[in-house]
């Protein structure tokens, strides 16, 4: 039985696992991008009240392996709080937190580093704050951060594999189960790689296309 045979024979199981993986990813992507952007903007606007605590939390989170954070939220925290939460939600919450802080870091840094001279130029040309933001700040910042944001989202998709370790029935766990029954690790994990490539490549391709179409070398000699 080769990789293609496995993909064909076990496609209902793989699709089911993929569905869970995509649901998990969608939650992580949407919350991360929305709340992370908001947190990044707030962190830039209120550097002491929001920016500093966010940076500290981000620094601490960056030092904790995601798997340890996931296990910590799944076992000890639930034990301490005497609650039992569906592993899917625990995983979604954990990865969303990681994504929110990572997105916030990217957005806040881009806003902090934005050359203020471009805003000054807009000001002396009589442009209002709204027009300056929409026509100058936003396009420049968006072009700068988009490749990094897309790369981060692909990484978050890959991180969802850790959810299998707390019994979320996502695609990696399905692959492990199939392997347990037929023991064809090379073919099964190749099939899994193909599935992830099928999802990641379009995102990476979009990032590449976007970079090619909208970002140019803007440095002046």
């Amino acid at each position: 039985m080769n990789t293609l045979d496995i993909l064909i024979k076990y496609h209902p199981a793989f699709l089911e696992g993929l569905k869970v993986t995509m649901q998990l990813s969608a939650i992580v992507w949407v919350t991360g991008l929305l709340l992370g952007t908001l947190l990044g903007i707030m962190g830039n606007k209120y550097p002491h009240e929001v920016g500093l605590p966010t940076r500290v939390l981000s620094f601490i989170l960056g030092g904790i392996p995601i798997l340890v954070f996931l296990f910590w939220l799944h076992y000890p925290v639930q034990f301490m709080l005497n609650v039992v939460i569906d592993p899917f939600y625990t995983a979604a919450f954990t990865f969303a937190i990681v994504n929110i802080f990572a997105v916030a870091d990217i957005v806040r840094s881009a806003l902090n580093d934005f050359p203020k001279q471009y805003i000054t130029a807009a000001k002396v040309c009589g442009m209002g704050e709204r027009q300056t933001f929409l026509s100058v700040q936003f396009p420049l910042i968006f072009r700068e951060i988009l490749p990094a944001l897309l790369l981060l989202q692909v990484t978050m998709l890959h991180v969802t594999l850790f959810a299998s370790l707390i019994s979320v029935e996502e695609v990696f766990r399905i692959a492990q189960r199939i392997n347990a029954s037929i023991y064809k690790p090379v073919e099964i994990y190749t099939a899994l790689g193909v599935l992830f490539l099928a999802i990641s490549l379009p995102v990476n391709g979009f990032a590449l296309w976007f970079k090619h179409k909208f970002t140019r070398d803007i440095s002046e000699s």
């Binding site: 040309c125 070398d217 803007i218 000699s221």
Partner: protein
Amino acid sequence: MLRAKNITVKTADGRLILDDVSLTIKRKEITALVGPSGSGKTTLLKALCFLDYPNSGTVSLDTKSYDFPLNLEDEATQKPTPWPEVTAVFQQLFLWPHLTLRENILLPLKARLKDDSKKLNAELDELIKQFDMTYFIDRYPNQTSGGQRQRAAIARALILKPKYVLLDEITSALDVEQAAKVLKALALLKDNDIGVLLITHLINFAKTSADSVVFLDEGKVLAAGSTELITKPSHPRIKDFLSCAKAAS
């Protein structure tokens, strides 16, 4: 006229940058602001176009007067927003890098473009001709030379029909030929009924084209008046500065 009276600017730690500086810029005139580096020229320019507020003094724009520090708690006091009546072109231009030179010039007029599109495009075409920008107007800033960018930055200011244009060392990064083109363009500003403040180290240009000269040193106006100030300098500090400028040119 655009007038600064008794302007004082201090840093956060109390160091004096401008000390009781007064200056007048009249329409249809070029006022050259000369002086050594660190004398406070750019700080004065920023105060004149209300980008940075001075600690004390008054800036008047025609009939409106603003006393600093502004008392913003008083409801009658409003933050000055004189742009683009007063506009500025800086040494580092600040053309928006994601837009072509044409888009850079037209962006500040976007709101007006819907109604006056024909008129504005005709004005832009006229400027493109005047500034000799036809073959590079649709390029991005980093695809053009320093002199071309400089002309586009001046055109961006000019199409706004300002009353006063403040120019900060706009020729400092250009070669002689490019600088000559830009300086030729400055004469157009004067012809367009615009008052110009030009911060420059080009003493010869100041001698031939300026209507008045202000010499700033260590945050103080050392002398102000006609171009005789630099053609027949009497103040030892100005003589010294001019001899250095001559040696460097």
